[in-house]
Symmetry: C2
């Protein structure tokens, strides 16, 4: 089984479970992690557990990095073969909020960058897949970033993240906030980034994101013609220990970077 | 026909049309209004036209205020019987973005405040209805705001609106942005406000909103136990010519107001 076959199969087999749990989310067991708004549900844990079991079955020598529990530690060799997973990105939206803004994200990385990635939006019936240098698709159709060239016609998704990052975001992002046409904040990195691949959003900015929040979606955007970098325009490496990133349609990348303080 | 019967019927008869157009939105005719991101579609115009025809048939002496064209002028007598409509709130999301974050909003006002209101989220199969002092419902079930009491456990929807308001928002809202647990920006006032009525969002803040953007949703939140005021805590009147507003679950209202500069 190839990595893309594995990801495709895993997402197809688990979308229904997430959708059912979202429909009946009033019954979920929800606990807090680091703050009152940092939530964990049985769905995150179940999906992560299922993925880890399957990865160990098919790729027993590979590293695994995932959002929950002890799997959130980075691999000793940052260039090793590694699976990178967020079982539910947007857990807070999964629990609270009427729109289904959550996603399952699974990537395979090697040499410190994502090589294969898949994102599923279960309630939207959308699955995005990409392999490096082979393009990206949404439900089998090619994805393409927008051709918008100017900030005033662009939409940015700024992730205001948790309270600890808020002052930094306000300081560093104030110039882009006052320069760009539209601002959104979806509260799910994956759901935000993936909309660059569909041409609906031009930029996504975050000051402290973890690899499982962007690995798959980053590759899907890159393979749709977009660009992903650190905030100093250096390459985005999953396990370099840095956190800020900018992902765009490419056309406005340097203009957005120039606004970041 | 009573006002609530009229609103209920109008929303039920037109949700399917909006849903069909959203599903086939690649074929829409889209034009810009005041800026590259201020959009208008045939769906806005058709729904507004249909509502106006029906209102004139059933309530021929009433005033009508609506978002598009010459109907956006306020009535000479701000206390007169008046229908207040946004045919599609979130037109930009209707055209661009993968999540169905748009709504049809229709309210009946008298004495300068909404007396009856209805909001339909066509793609979510959700219809909210309220009459003053009679409670609010979503698909027939009573709505209730959340009981969250503290800012760090709350979610606010801050509307970053258009470029002309951006500096004001950053200045006046910076204290609440750095104090509240979660921030969202949906780009549809109605979709944001209505989530206070469902207990999913605790506060909605906007610096320059028009009556058609909030009349129906405001009443639905108030009838769900929430509070709506101007930013100086004075009552929210539809046609007083003022623009800033705060709508909350009530419990955090004074704490949020205290943060607004």
């Amino acid at each position: 089984m190839t990595e893309i076959e594995f990801i495709t199969t895993f997402l197809a087999e688990n979308a229904g479970y997430a959708r059912e749990k979202f429909a009946a989310r009033g019954d979920l067991t929800v606990t807090s992690k680091t703050s009152p708004t940092d939530l964990l549900t049985e769905v995150d844990l179940t999906l992560q557990h299922r993925a880890i079991e399957k990865i160990r079955e098919h790729f027993p020598d590979d590293q695994i990095v995932a959002e929950e529990g002890e799997f959130s530690t980075f691999p000793k060799d940052p260039h090793a073969r590694c699976w990178v997973m967020d079982p539910i990105d947007g857990t807070s939206n999964f629990v609270k909020g009427i729109f289904p803004v959550y996603a399952i994200s699974l990537a395979f990385a090697e040499k410190g960058i994502p090589q294969v990635g898949g994102v599923c939006l279960p309630d939207m019936d959308m699955t995005f897949l990409a392999e490096r240098d082979k393009g990206a698709t949404m439900n089998g159709k090619p994805c393409r970033v927008s051709q918008i060239q100017t900030l005033d016609a662009s939409r940015i998704d700024v992730d205001f993240s948790t309270l600890k990052d808020r002052q930094t975001i306000l300081s560093r992002a104030s110039n882009i906030i006052t320069s760009i046409g539209q601002i959104r904040c979806h509260g799910s990195a994956v759901c935000s980034i993936i909309q660059i691949a569909t041409g609906d959003v031009e930029a996504y900015l975050h000051m402290s994101l973890n690899p499982w929040d962007y690995a798959a979606a980053q590759l899907i955007v890159e393979e749709s013609g977009g660009v992903a970098t650190r905030l100093d325009n250096s390459p985005l490496e999953l396990f370099d220990g840095r956190e800020g990133l900018l992902i765009t349609n490419g056309a406005i990348h340097s203009d957005v970077l120039a606004c970041i303080k």
